[in-house]
């Protein structure tokens, strides 16, 4: 399995940043960035990363199973994550979640029919000071209101 030249360069650099024999240290970042390109962690991708990090495929699966941000199912082009943990809940996180779910017609860990957006109800994303917070791929959105969420979703659909 090969990736885009940019990603390959990034992975090569990543492997170099750890002492020789400790390639497994690159496991999580490698999974994250390859997931971004491939869309999800397929069996084939798990095997490829295992090979590159010098671990068994099962050891990759252990990590993938543990971290919710690593997904074995294909998600949308934009993965919209809405926090409903305590700080966000207190200031409308749940309303945001309900709204997005209704507007997109999908539930937790589901993808829109056109594959553009997927939705996930997440635990605290470490942005409590700016609650309610949501995340699209790696971007954070703070003090999100229902209107902003509406506009964000419309924008995301338009980009498609």
């Amino acid at each position: 399995m090969t990736f885009s030249p940019e990603l390959e360069a990034r992975l090569a650099k990543m492997l170099e940043s750890y002492p020789k024999g400790r390639e497994r240290a690159a496991l999580i970042p490698m999974l994250m960035y390859t997931q971004d390109e491939v869309g999800h962690i397929s069996k084939e991708l798990a095997e490829e990363v295992a090979k590159r990090c010098g671990v068994t495929t099962l050891q990759v699966e252990e990590v993938v199973g543990f971290y919710t941000m690593l997904r074995t199912k294909k998600m949308g082009k934009t993965h919209l994550q809405i926090c409903t943990n305590i700080s966000c809940l207190l200031v409308g996180g749940d309303e945001l979640w309900q709204h997005a779910s209704k507007k997109l017609g999908i539930g937790h860990n589901q993808v829109t029919a056109d594959g553009s957006i997927s939705l996930e109800e997440v635990e605290c994303i470490g942005a409590c000071s700016w609650a309610p917070a949501i995340q699209t791929n790696y971007d954070f959105h703070h003090y999100v209101t229902l209107d902003q969420l509406d506009k964000l979703i419309d924008d995301l659909r338009r980009i498609q």
């Binding site: 699966e61 252990e62 199973g65």
Partner: protein, 692 residues
Amino acid sequence: MSNPVNLTIDGKAVQAAPGTLLIDAAKQSGILIPAFCYYEGYSLQAACRMCLVEVEKFPKLQAACTLPVAEGMVVRTEAASAVQARKTTLEFLLTNHPLDCPVCDKGGECELQDMVFRYGAGESRFTEVKHHVDEKQWSPVVYYDAPRCILCYRCVRVCDEGMGVTALGITHRGAYSEITPNKGDHLNCDQCGACIDICPVGALTSGIYRYQTRPWEMEHVGTICTHCSDGCKTTLGVRNNEIVRGNNRDSTGINGEFLCIKGRYAFDFIKHEDRLQSPMVRRNGKLEEVSWAEAVKAVAARFAEIKAAGGAIGVAGSVHSTNEESYFLQKFARQGLGTPHIDHARSGDVPALIHALAGKTDALATADSLYHAKAVLVVDADLSQQHPFLAFQVRANVRHHQAAVYTVTRGPVREEQTAAKAVHTADYLAGVRGLGEDLKKHADLVIVFGDGIKGAAVGELVAFGDSLGIPVRYVCLVDYSNSRGAMDMGLLPELGPGYHPAAVRGMSLPQMAASQDLAALWVVGADPLAGGKRLASGKAFVVVQDLFLTDTAKQADVVLPSASAYEKSGTVTNVTGQIQRLKKGLNIMGAKPDLEIFGLIARAMGVDAGRAQNEAVFEEIRKSVRGYNVPLPVLATGGAAQAQPVNGRVDVLPDPELVRSAGDTLFTSGSLGRYSKILGSVMEAPGALYKG
């Protein structure tokens, strides 16, 4: 101990070496701190929180399994806070636990049960529905019951670090975490069962033992595995005169807890339906069942006739028989039958090694040396497949002492995963010589070699070892549980007991088979006519003692059913020359131990070959076989004593061409393996010998 650390544990002044973990320091002074995930010899996990103890000046409870001792430390292992913490941990562990102790294999010897009994987490505040997952079968050997699992990672580590297989992992998280096998829904692994035995609870169970018995209903008989030559101690669990399990949880013996699939499970051949139950004599071309008295009479009469007529009698000894049996057999043959034609299936050139080491002391390695040597060189052997325990020792040495491993083999072997250098070549000596500069750097070395090094090559290998200028010890690999003993006891046409030249040089097995004049062939636990081969001499009277109707037995005139190693006592000598005691686990009907059969034949012939009784024969062996004068109490208490037959040249060296290893894999064991259903049922790994 350099500058020991002083500390107090439960009011007791304790000293420990710097760096010692608190849990170990406590254990050394007789204080047992509870632990689920901590396991001596494997990496630290600190996952279970059972070992929490109160340490003065620490604001919180500390995990004794990861805390190194410090000067002046004051520890209370059973402080009220620690007890409360353990109780809570247990309550937590039990939230999803099925509490099916009444039917669980582990009930009665379960660490979780013991801990709950001790700390009494008898009530649960957890009222939700328990998370249940159905049990899974991963292989004929391994079953997994996730709800019983306490996620201690012992199985994962023993498989990865101990076995070098890495077939188990833990996927998902929290209450949903589960052990997962490497092939998703099944295991492709060594099927050793180490994961099952190390499991503190009944989450991993074996296809052989599960739901067969309760632990307290068994008798536990410590004996030696009868398969490969490594000589692992296995403790048989015997119930109603049937072996229901084998393990070595008490860690006695040279192998500690280690056993491969054969030692742990492949005892089932003894109850195979093809097992011979009664002596048979050929009448009108057909083997017919007769009484022991009749069969023995037939053999004795014919042997006496042939002896009187001066006919050639060939004797093939066994690589599974005890030392006592092999010694008695050759003595009976040489003195009683007056024949020099004695041999067995040779699998390693031990005489050549002993010859090459003449004058050296401490040049034969033990299983322990493989764990302590700074460097190990493996030549022409697929250790993980052919000598699982020796391979385990090497792996442990790498893990605990960073030993340097070198391999010179024809094809890839597992040892390469951690080897400093791996050479692939069929020219073993050249490969070895190429490593000279590397090997010299180490403080000491053990060289383990297979049947690719024999005859003159053994001398060259030892000369190479001498040239390194470091202490070198050797292991000449042989195949089966008493292959080494068969040679030490003189089951060779050229050599008598202790490698003394035989008075008259006899025929080797192939020569016997090719001889037109062979008048009789007495085969004890061997199959020289395997594959339907025929003796050149059409008139030979063939007597076979065996567990099964082997190819040779099918051609026999008299067949005598013999006892397996698990059904008799005596001593065996492993590949590294370590003598250990077999202990009879079962009573049998029909079959008899070889020694008893020899005694019956001798008596019927009126031949005096000494008393056919273990202690008497071993006493004679101790007196007359070089190196066997070992301390008896060591053997009596289940220990191993190394025979040191070195220190003399072997004046007549047997033909190296006759040395050939059977090339068993992890899942085969010569003729015994064919009758083990469990060995026949595990297919996938390890496949063909990596040796190629």
